[in-house]
Amino acid sequence: MNLSTPDRAIKLLLVFLALSSGSGCAAGLAEAPFASSPGSVEPGDLRGPFYGQVLDTDSSKPLSGATVLVCWDFVQGDGPSAPAGTVRRVVTTNADGRYIVPRVSVRGRHGRLARATLIIYQRGYLAYRSDRRYSDLGPRGDFTQTGNMVRLERFPNEGSHVRHLRFIGAGGPLGQAVAWELQLASDEAARMRPSWQEEETGAAGEEKPIDATRLLSADELKAVTGYKGDFTIGKLGDRETSSTYDSVHFRATGGQPEKFDAAIRVFRAADAEGAELRYDELLHDYPEVEEKDEIGDRSLRSREKEIFGVVALDKAHALVVVFTCGVEQCHDHDTAVALVKRMWPRLGRVTAGRPRRVAPSGGEAEPAPEAAPETPKESAPETPKEAP
């Protein structure tokens, strides 16, 4: 394509376009979302000027020296679009609490005036915004361009500086004025815990169930064993998931026998000693045990008929992991061991409380395509009857 010799008509067209609209000069301004004055239905003018008075809510006395910031935001393109610049003006209220913010000129400005926001800030008071209320952060409907009456409430003793800084913004033109709140907000934020963290801990401090699904995905299992089929992922059903026990059953689909399945059981003890006791029980109870100590603090291999078993102890997390894998899935014991080694770096996640992947309502772990599993098919090694 030869861009250096464009058609003459095109050239003229483009020059026209560039001159007529491509310069990006302010083409207009949006309709103001506020009235021109109290009681009026006439929309105000985004450009201003803005007049008003600021009073103390309790005393109804004028507040002098309050900072009044007006920001005029320009955007590029029709409708709300990319920011194209901002103009702001800061004034302070006089002895009568009155403010006057002169009209802004949009001449020569890049883009279109889309928004004008007025913020009033006085230390010791809750700030005021022309677009939103502090109480519920909902849209404000009582701001007017002129004759605007603002009653500032005193900052309550138990008031939140995190919320207050979110309301007015922690940076920008008011950055200097609100600097004293940064430390207070920071201290408050350090004490706060997001609601999801509280949910994970449990309302009454009870421990949340552990989650064995974080140790191994079906894809990883297939990648290591080379299995081409699919799995239904569920629980083994031998015991309820709790803060001390969880299981994952990779059940081969298509009516395959259990020698195509794999399963993970995770036991959590109160401490490292308890976990080691649990491990010793399994060492004693499982068939054809050979202690190899190749994973974690201790580990063993076990086998019963067509099922390979691997048990490993992690004292740091007070966990015992039991992995069982059918001979058509794992083919040999080394494969089963490799899979447990793959799980090992993730032991911390078992108790971390976060679901894997996005669940629509934020709740579930890896979804099981079918309903809750029936009676476990797996038979060996036997699952211990009691949790530690």
Binding site: P80, L165, Q183, A190, P355, V358, G362
Partner: protein
Amino acid sequence: MTLRRWGGPALAMLLVLGRAPSAQAWDAATTHAGLTEQAIYASTLGRILTQTLHRPLGLYEPLRINLTGPRGERLGTALGRLGSADGYAPEGGRLPALEWVVAGSVIEETPVVRMRNHFYDPRTQGGLDQGGFLSGMDLRMGRLLEGSGSVREFLTGGGLDGTGRPSLAWLTATDNDLGLSWFYEARERAVTAATPRERDAALAEALLVAGAILHVVEDATEPALVRNDFREEFARYGGPFRRWVAQRYGRLGVPAPSAGPIDVAHLSEIITNEDETGLADRTAAHFFSLGSLPGSTPTRSPDVKPGAGLSGYVAGEDVAHLAAWRREAGRLIWQLDERCYRDYASVLLPLAAHGALSALEHLFRGGLSLSDGKVYAGTEALGAGRLSFYAEDGMGRRRMIRSSEVSGAAAEDVLADEPTVEGARRLVAVFRGVDVEGEPIVVSAERHLE
């Protein structure tokens, strides 16, 4: 093909075209700012800034950015255009830490043409595909007419022409100056740069880029962006859903995340994954945009059937008002109205904030610790990478004292031995490499020396 060949159509189009409105997904200055803000408040970022990066004020630590070169100029221009009523417009290059993240989420779409790379259609695994050099000419012309496009873009096809890269590719694209590689680079410099001022600037930059990444993730909950619908939703109707959300919620009314963060092996899984539970998977499967309503071509899920009357709504899996329908002169007409928008926003905004929260936690995941003369991996197992040690003197200046390749370590396992350092006030360790899933990661730890 020469310009002469499309001269005729261009002139004809000038006569018939209305002004094609510029396009955005969620409105950047309000909705994206609010979503990102909510994600930050729900995240552990404040704790990481305080405890790992030793910024005493955490989220509120003032940081001054220092961007240089052509990239710095571009970003500086974009930052200079930000509206200043919401606290995220820098003053003299300074902002509190959390506002840098918010600022990043806003400038990800400045200029608007960047949004062409925010589409991801899980059905095709592709990006925006509704134009091209010739067939997208009407769109470029529209932007030129409204003043948001340039003559150069119009001529070269470099502007918003109805095509773009998938958002997943955009996150890692080398020409994305707010992409993942810039995040990790700045995150490392935030610890390794020689002077405190340089480290502050790098941290501000890392947070800025993190915000831009969150923007791309949040966009995966906007139906038009995951259903390859640019022409109808944006070019024809000007993005009514986006406008409605911006007006109703503003920045401050945006809801908090729907749940705690999810733990993902790869950032992309938040947007799409094989379980089809990613933001884009879910949004594309359960919500409509104007250009992909029932009856449009190609037909897309969800499958719905109108009732027997003259008008009504069909319900979806997540919302009571999935789409409005009416019968008019024997025709069945589908539409999205305010009831639909209200329902959509009530589900999609918390989901978007949730995705942003998960992305933020992913970017700042893991850690290192220094104790007993050893360096330990944190909660995240580490793969191969480079472990470097820095000594800090009494003036806060840091110099590298050792750097070597390491093969990785299990979570909370020993990564290496600490070097012996004399005459330093602080020892710093930083690992840059991949985690066990092969995802890039930068983690660091600092220890005061007696």
